[in-house]
Symmetry: C2
Subunit: 301 residues, 2 copies
Amino acid sequence: MIRRAVPALTMLTLCAASAAAADKPATPVAVVAAARASEWREIAADDLLVMTIEGGRRVVIQLAPAFSPTHVGNMRTLAKAHWWDGTSINRVQDNYVVQWGDVTEKKPMPPGLSPTSSADYVQPIANRRLRVTPLPYPDPYAPSTGFVAGWPVAMDGDGVWLPHCYGFVGVGRNNSPDAGTGAELYAVIGQAPRQLDRNIAVVGRVIEGMAHLSSLPRGSGELGFYTEAEHKVPIVSVRLASDMPAAERPRFQVMNTEANSEWNSFTHYLRLRANRKDDFYDRPAGGVDLCNAPVPVRPVP
Amino acid sequence: MIRRAVPALTMLTLCAASAAAADKPATPVAVVAAARASEWREIAADDLLVMTIEGGRRVVIQLAPAFSPTHVGNMRTLAKAHWWDGTSINRVQDNYVVQWGDVTEKKPMPPGLSPTSSADYVQPIANRRLRVTPLPYPDPYAPSTGFVAGWPVAMDGDGVWLPHCYGFVGVGRNNSPDAGTGAELYAVIGQAPRQLDRNIAVVGRVIEGMAHLSSLPRGSGELGFYTEAEHKVPIVSVRLASDMPAAERPRFQVMNTEANSEWNSFTHYLRLRANRKDDFYDRPAGGVDLCNAPVPVRPVP
């Protein structure tokens, strides 16, 4: 069904492009640009965490309450309490993570945080009525992968979980069985460390300002922690978009990943990510990694 | 055979560690630290490219002549001609590449460069007498993967090629059939863009100073190129280690990847990368991505 849909989609995509581009094979970027307005869904303001760091640099994180409800609940509580204001980015380890939170480990927690456990790492299949768009390529870390409600997912017979892709945000913790509160966070800045999947709660992804994190100086201490002599990057504020004045709220859309319509730009995009063939690419790979087909996200036009 | 070797190796590794550590499960880091001296091989000085950028920051690249002989030959010619001196880093695209070379595209090439072609992207199986240590996990981009002579490789029935992993260096080019000379180079700074495999020549990997590239400010121009208003990072010099005074040469060792000895730290390391289980990890993945099991490299002790 996916295969049959491609010629029609290609034609329609090309019709939407300029005459000059009509000679060229479709690219993932062109398919996304040509997607219909109805193929985008606005992200709820309650699912956007806006972090402002030193110099007014803004990082926006989309939360994933459907996959990590307890941790995301805690993060909303922490944001409403302005708990992260005055904390800092304390660790930057190359090809791994940028980590932030309370370096003193003494800042009192606000009331109302829920206890977490390793059961929160995987959502049981039985609890879900979500539709999966499969990614039909092998994965070294999970029996199957795909996309659910705008998120990449890995799956086995028991459940579904978010993968540690570039830009994804996880919850720092001490040794197991500790599962972290959601106060100590990190973002992936290198090759997807999928070995962390199901060992740590993934709570969202950076959708704006990723370069403000990934280009930070690496820490010279153990595990990339900044030493006393190095500059920890101050966090000015962290707010839910829903708690910001309407005029200041960032607004984003995510592309629909459900393969349930005749017109489906996302599955076309996936096919092209897996089979690049244009003026630059001679040899299509015939596959794509779960973390190398990011779900398109854009500011509300 | 790999399986049987593990208990003995674990025991020996633990014997080499401290008494306090003897209670803990082996980790990849501990296995590498405990490898015998005979399991390391020094990298030839002719295979080390030493790039010094602004501020005296040093980046060392290990060349892969066995996989890209023509391009690597050209790079040695360019280094001997001091061709890169005075060029610059011109592009930094987040989660993709850092690229350097002659931004004017007018600098005359030295004599002696060999023509390249897309045939250089893959080494035919028939030409190789190299031993492959297989990585027994599925890969979305190739029928099989493994390690050859200290390098990760992807393979099909026809040939073998180097993958675009984090820190790997490829040859910039124009549209196909152009295959690049080796003068315009980039290093991967994000999720492995494996769709480029077999479409571009991979010529080596960064083995020291990667953070000097990955933490550079991202360019605001198209594809992450620095605009006129942004600072291109000057390249002071690029030399083969073999052309440097002996006292100044960096020296590195790479771990043997051949699984042909009874004592084999590398296969043990691979197993642990795929099956993390210690105080921090509760759920071993049971697999690991080709680009997430970097071959250990270290300065000569």
